[in-house]
């Protein structure tokens, strides 16, 4: 496990990286290679240095160290949830499910229950709805949050609860909520099981190499659907408080049945097929369903990870319920380990918005402490025990991600302590952090072996179209998703063209460039072609994604390349009068992009001044921004990444300081 002392040391000391370390940083695009043209050099010579830069760097490094300490607190075993802080906050969905499942699992302490309820209450919008991280009212979240509050004893006739019911009704009723919300309603006996999509049990007997096999679902979907098969087959029943007021009824008081498929001809046909499957269940089918359920139960056993959880919190909750349905007692070691995992995924947060904004509460995270965040924080201060810890946590065992990935074990997992699921985002961040080590660092030698294996893994995670997969190859191209189910998208992890995958592809290419790969390699060329395609077809890419593309272009493309010029033009056009590019994360990303494109220009100076000025306001300002990160999955595709702006500002200002030092040399 983690060397806590090492992180305590890191958190206590706050010093700037040495000049030697600065020189090791971000060595891909250098002014020597992508030198600014002569007029820009003149501008550089005229530009005044940013006042307060060293002080800002010291502060940001100190805040980054604090975040690292908080993140690693979440990893430490034995700590109480109320002693820990979350570094990545999802929506209220997981907290609601934990509260509902506690009726069966009976694990939450009164403090924890009250803390989670406070988190749910505090997040409610004055309109009565619970919002997703984009700020839109969300039917499923509102229904689940209302139900969890009711389960927790909140008065149903209170204004906020009545408003919530109105929102649910206005959005079509709880029966139109997402698959997970309907699953809980079915388990509580509020709706019929037939209102959930039918998964033929025999599907679990299909060989893994066949396209319709559950092995081809995304890991999150596999983690949810396998226990779902058990629950649906056994018709699991939880004794939860009544939530019938959330359901919309016809005038005759009969419930309005939800549509399980999309409103197309294909959807109608599938609906008919769904009914046929459900009817066929009443016919004798021999031993196959039983065999399939046994296989699913075995999979649940095998998929429990070293840290006790399954892929993340939702699959863990459903797997625990399924285990109980299959007869496991509450003192079963699998149940205890799973509950420990859920507990470690909880922590204190400051409610970011809603009626309780600013107050502290206990939130249920989407999983354990995200490795991608920890690794990026370690990368701000490379070397020492933190690097050794990082190397120890690389994947060394064969995992399901390797089924379609022809690479040896390596890379980093989604969360610390996990051993079965690769996360390419964490792997790219780790490669970046390890790439900053100086050759004389004692931890450099083991780091090189880790870099070697991780590079092989990154290369092997490339999809045929040139993009990179995050968890498993083929995660976006799930065959069963082509059927017009309303919940079909949950079977896959996003789209190849979504911001997450574009950003991931750009990051993977940046790390490959750092390891010496160039556009003369067909894999890099395919990745670049994919990014260029996305840039052309999606003119509205978000700013942070655009900046990641710029970093990739700076590392791999010559100055005259069309994509590089296009990205640079778009970034430059986004700067505002005050020097910012939007919020703090956008500004830091914009500054870093300009610097890694090779320009220490006037726009970069202005952005740097803005960040330095912002640092005077304290760490809270950097944690406030809407730093949404697509670090989530399943029904919570985004999380609030509280330390993102701090990390990015520190990284960009470090590069800026390094470039400034070079400019001073040039001037001399």
């Amino acid at each position: 496990m983690i060397a806590c002392g090492a992180f305590a040391d890191l958190a206590q000391t706050s010093r700037l990286p040495s000049p030697a370390r600065l020189n090791m940083l971000h060595a891909i695009p250098t002014p020597a290679k992508h030198g600014a043209p002569t007029p820009q050099r003149q501008l550089l010579a005229d530009a005044r240095e940013v006042e307060g830069l060293p002080a800002a760097l010291t502060k940001l490094q100190s805040w980054s160290d604090d975040w690292l300490a908080r993140a690693t607190e979440g990893i430490r075993p034995g700590a109480s949830p109320t002693d820990r802080s979350l570094v990545a906050i999802p929506d209220v969905g997981p907290a609601c499910e934990v509260l509902l499942a506690d009726q069966l699992l009976r694990d939450l302490s009164p403090d924890e229950r009250e803390g989670l309820l406070a988190w749910i209450r505090g997040q409610q919008d004055p309109s009565g709805a619970w919002l997703d991280l984009q700020g839109r009212p969300d039917l499923s979240l509102t229904a689940m949050a209302y139900w969890a509050r009711a389960q927790g004893g909140d008065e149903r006739t209170s204004e906020s609860m009545v408003k919530a019911v109105r929102v649910v009704h206005a959005l079509g009723g709880a029966q139109r909520a997402n698959f997970i919300a309907r699953l809980w309603l079915a388990m509580a006996g509020q709706i019929e099981w037939s209102w959930l999509p039918a998964i033929p049990a025999e599907l679990f007997l299909v060989p893994n190499s066949i396209a319709i096999s559950p092995a081809r679902f995304s890991p999150w979907a596999r983690g949810v659907l396998t226990p779902y098969l058990v629950l649906a087959r056994e018709k699991a029943r939880l004794h939860l408080t009544d939530a019938s007021e959330l359901l919309v009824r016809h005038r005759g008081q009969a419930l309005v049945a939800p549509r399980l498929t999309r409103a197309t001809l294909a959807g109608d046909l599938l609906q008919a097929f769904d009914r046929a499957v459900k009817l066929s269940r009443k016919l004798p089918r021999g031993p196959l369903p039983e065999i399939a359920v046994r296989r699913a139960a075995r999979w649940i056993d095998e998929a429990q990870q070293e840290h006790g959880g399954w892929f993340s919190v939702r699959p863990t909750l459903l797997s625990l319920v399924a285990l109980r349905v299959l007869g496991a007692r509450s003192d079963d070691p699998r149940i205890r380990r799973g509950l420990d995992y859920l507990r470690r995924a909880r922590g204190r947060v400051v409610i970011p918005r809603g009626v309780g904004a600013g107050r502290e509460a206990l939130a249920q995270g989407l999983g354990g402490t995200p490795m991608a965040v920890v690794v990026e924080l370690i990368g701000t201060r490379p070397g020492g025990d933190a690097t050794a810890w990082l190397v120890r946590h690389q994947l060394q065992d064969v995992g399901p991600w390797q089924a379609r990935t022809d690479a040896p074990a390596g890379g980093w997992p989604l969360e610390a302590g996990a051993r079965m699921h690769l996360d390419l985002a964490a792997t790219c961040n780790a490669l970046s952090a390890l790439g900053r080590l100086s050759a004389d660092d004692p931890s450099a030698a083991p780091a090189w072996a880790a870099i070697r294996r991780a590079t092989a893994v990154v290369l092997a995670m490339q999809e045929p179209d040139g993009s990179f997969a995050r968890f498993e190859r083929g995660e976006t191209d799930v065959f069963m998703r082509r059927f017009p189910w309303t919940d079909a998208d949950l079977l896959a992890y996003g789209d190849q063209a979504d911001a997450t995958h574009v950003r991931l592809t750009a990051s993977a290419l940046v790390e490959l460039a750092r390891t010496g790969f160039a556009a003369d390699d067909d894999r890099v060329a395919r990745g670049l072609a994919c990014l260029e395609r996305e840039l052309d077809t999606h003119p509205g890419l978000d700013f942070v994604t655009l900046c990641t593309l710029a970093r990739c272009a700076g590392a791999l493309l010559p100055e005259e390349h069309r994509m590089r010029q296009q990205v640079e033009k778009r970034i430059r056009s986004r700067q505002r009068e005050d020097g910012s590019f939007g919020d703090l994360l956008d500004t830091a990303s914009g500054l870093r992009a300009l610097l890694e494109l090779g320009h220490v220009c006037v726009q970069a100076h202005r952005a740097a001044r803005y960040l330095v000025a912002a640092s005077a306001a304290g760490p809270e300002r950097f944690a406030q921004g809407p730093a949404r990160s697509p670090g989530g999955f399943g029904l919570s595709p985004e999380t609030l990444d509280l330390s993102a702006a701090t990390r990015e500002a520190l990284a960009s200002l470090l590069i800026y300081a390094e470039r400034q030092a070079r400019v001073t040399e040039l001037r001399a």
Binding site: T30, A32, K33, T405, A439, I451, R452, F517, A518
Partner: protein, 520 residues
């Protein structure tokens, strides 16, 4: 030192390995000491750029026959055992040992290039049958009215010039040969990239005595011992194959090597190499890697030897062995013409043609092998990666496969049948390796087909090279047969004409028609 005579039988330009070996071979062939041999070099001492240091057993045998071997051993040269090829640093290595090749010495030789050149120059100077002039550059070549090269204008580093007459000029001045340019021999020279080299003392090698080829980084890394020092320590050379568009300059190269190459070395070698790079003062030793498809190796009065006569990527480490074979061939021709009458060139046109035929037989083979292996080891495309995996699968299939490959790689095998059978076997393994994943449990069929298609495409692309090699192997004997047939045809024709004109055919010795020029 200035040349002592104004006429030489042979003037050799370039006193590197190929030049010195040629000089020595010719000197030994001239057992009656009737010939004057001059060897010149631009650099007093040794060439500053780092260069080849690995010699296959065939080359080591030639060095032994030329009398260099004991001196080189005494200077610290090391006997080496073969190649250890690593698909990646975590995999077991493939043992390509020289000792498995039948009919060859069991050891090659590795030696620091500067030590090698110094020792060779000292040895030929001690023998005293070759005149060595350092610090002289070729400025012009002279031709007679028939176009045959018959003289050379030299300029010393301090500006003096001297013009010499000679019967034969041997260009041994490397891949950037000045003589080749002055003679107007154009070649499609292509710079592939650069090689950077560092020396590591007492490096921990997984297979001591072997040249290690480490794959996985942008280009292959070669690690091999080069010198046994007087204090008992061993110098090991590490070379990094870098792209043509260097991603960094000056000191930045070191950071680039640390970032892009060192992680792909096994521990503890990686630490030792990193330490050597960091401690290295000044710029690293670098040399361009060049592909020069074999140019015309012979013109009247001029021959090209060694890298001047064609070179390729150093991945097969065969450049020096090829240079030594050139020297040996010229030496044999010299011995054949040992009794040539005074007034006739020592090495006449027929000797040079035979040299060219022999040179053209093995140089294209070497270039084709180097080209194919470099492309596979680089792994820049789907097909080349499939071929790389196929090579390792093939080598791991048994000792016979390794022995046959090693015979080709070490220039010990030249039979076309072996070359073509190795090509076909590698292609067959490429298909198999593409379709069966190494790690994945259920690798997508589309990916397997893409790999197989890439491998097939690459094999198809290489068919042209295979055809070139086959032609190079077959052509010399075909040429000889054709020229003999042509001569016979001329004779018969002349006899027929003569008999029609004046009765009986004239005696061949009395009125033989001039032999038509042989096709070159």
């Amino acid at each position: 030192m200035k040349p002592r005579h104004i006429h030489y039988d042979v003037v050799i330009v370039g006193a590197g390995l190929a030049g010195c070996a040629t000089a020595q071979a010719l000197a030994l062939a001239d057992s009656e000491r009737r010939r004057r041999i001059l060897i010149i070099d631009r650099h007093p001492g040794v060439h500053p750029r780092f260069s080849g240091e690995w010699i296959h057993p065939r080359g080591a045998q030639i060095l032994d026959e030329l009398g260099f071997y004991p001196a080189l051993q005494a200077a610290g040269a090391m006997d080496v055992d073969g190649f250890a090829v690593f698909e990646d640093a975590d995999s077991p290595w493939v043992d390509l040992a020289y000792s498995t090749v039948t009919g060859e010495r069991p050891h090659g030789m590795a030696v620091h290039h500067k030590v090698l050149v110094r020792t060779l120059r000292r040895t030929i100077a001690e023998l005293g049958r070759v005149e060595l002039c350092e610090g002289w550059t070729v400025v012009e070549l002279r031709r007679d009215s028939a176009g045959k090269f018959n003289g050379i204008l030299l300029e010393s580093n301090d500006g003096n010039t001297v013009e010499l007459a000679c019967d034969l000029i041997v260009a041994a001045d490397g891949k950037g040969s000045t003589v080749r340019k002055l003679a107007g021999i154009t070649g499609e020279r292509e710079t592939l990239g650069f090689t950077a080299g560092v020396e590591v003392l007492d490096a921990t090698l997984p297979a001591p005595g072997y040249a290690h080829v480490m794959l996985g980084a942008w280009g292959p890394i070669l690690v091999y011992p080069i010198l046994r020092r007087a204090d008992g320590r061993t110098s090991v050379r590490v070379t990094f194959d870098m792209p043509r568009e260097l991603p960094a300059k000056g000191e930045g190269i070191k950071q680039y090597l640390l970032r892009a190459f060192v992680p792909f070395l096994p521990a503890p070698l990686a630490e030792q190499v990193a330490s050597a790079i960091v401690r290295h003062k000044g710029p690293l030793e670098m040399a361009p890697t060049v592909n020069l498809p074999a140019p015309e190796a012979m013109l009247p009065g001029l021959v090209l030897v060694g890298d001047a006569g064609g070179c390729s990527h150093p991945i097969t480490a065969s450049g020096m062995t090829m240079g030594l074979r050139d020297a040996q061939t010229l030496g044999l021709e010299g011995a054949r013409r040992m009794d040539a009458p005074t007034g006739e060139p020592w090495l006449d046109a027929a000797s040079l043609r035979r040299y060219k035929a022999e040179h053209d037989r093995y140089v294209p083979t070497r270039q084709a092998l180097a080209d194919a292996i470099y492309e596979a080891f680089r792994g820049g495309t789907t097909g080349s990666r499939a071929i790389r995996r196929a090579l390792f699968d093939y080598w791991n299939s048994g000792p016979t496969a390794r022995r046959r490959s090693m015979a080709l790689l070490s220039c010990a095998e030249g039979r076309p049948s072996v070359f073509i059978s190795e090509y076909l076997r590698a292609s067959r393994f490429a298909i198999g390796a593409s379709l069966i994943p190494k790690y994945a449990a259920s690798y997508p069929v589309g990916d397997r087909l893409r790999q197989a298609r890439g491998a097939l495409q690459l094999a198809q692309d290489k068919l042209g090279i295979v055809a070139t090699v086959m032609w190079a192997q077959v052509r010399p004997s075909w040429d000889v047969a054709r020229s003999a047939a042509t001569r016979e045809a001329w004779r018969e024709r002349w006899n027929r004409i003569s008999s029609r004109l004046s009765g009986p055919a004239p005696q061949r010795s009395a009125a033989a028609p001039p032999t038509p020029p042989l096709p070159s």
